[in-house]
Symmetry: C2
């Protein structure tokens, strides 16, 4: 196990990282986009677009659905967030440097999410695609289940 400086875990670090990434790329992480990213990182569980919109409105900012969806589109393009299609929610990417398909463990009960980055899975899928002459554009892996905490909770209740 080696430390990996590119792994982001806390909001502040993620935002700084995102800012420098966008600068390097010549893309514009505007105030709105940065704020949406911050809202996502500040949440313990992934948020839906309308939940993000609610927070923006609490900020006092005007906004309608397109405001949020456009910011989300940008962040998705930049690989700064992932979309969990099975739940219609968005979560911050912990490895925004390298574009990659998302791999997630999603807790059915508490909604918490753990991002995997298993290169073997990605390669296996690429290989499967290649032998079918299928050109891969993006990959999405979503594993639904129960996190350790929620398993304990359920067991405790069983007694």
């Amino acid at each position: 196990m080696s430390a990996d400086s590119s792994l982001t875990f806390d909001p502040r670090q993620a935002l700084e990282h995102a800012a420098s990434l966008c600068e390097r790329r010549g893309t514009r992480l505007t105030e709105l986009r940065k704020r949406v990213l911050e809202i996502i990182w500040n949440s313990p569980t992934p948020l839906g677009a309308y939940a993000i919109l609610d927070v923006l409105r609490d900020d006092g900012r005007q906004g309608a659905p397109p405001t949020v969806y456009r910011a989300l589109d940008f962040l998705l393009e930049q690989g700064l967030i992932h979309r969990l299609a099975s739940l219609n929610v968005f979560t911050g990417c912990r490895r925004p440097d390298s574009f990659h398909g998302g791999q997630f463990l999603i807790c059915r009960d508490c909604g918490q999410v753990d991002e995997l980055t298993n290169p073997t899975v990605e390669e296996l899928l690429r290989a499967e695609a290649a032998c079918r002459r299928f050109e891969v554009l993006s990959q999405m892996v979503e594993v639904l289940g129960r996190c350790p905490d929620c398993q304990r909770g359920a067991k405790a209740r069983d007694r």
Copy 2:
């Protein structure tokens, strides 16, 4: 490469297979549910719930969204179809005998879908989950890209 009698590719076979499966399980593949499954299998590309509803109405049958969603829920429970979360569509399962997480190659351009059943991918994900003490309930792999046909089409247009 060995032939596998449990692989279904055409609607008629899939329906027969589904009927016998449900009979063995003591679950009821009613006319409505069977018809929804047939509609899904008859379509060259996965269908959304409302597209299925349109076909039902063409049949002359009454129906509202819940009619379709309930039938879809049943078919999902029985493992007779999969839901592609990234597109909000449903597709017939080619291996309904063994419950499994879905693994799909989805063509961005024509919408056609190829179902993979790579046990190594499933095992790898289970292993990743296990070493995080995460209890797996279901898996979903969606690879978005371009099928061979659509690659050729795009190339032809490039000339």
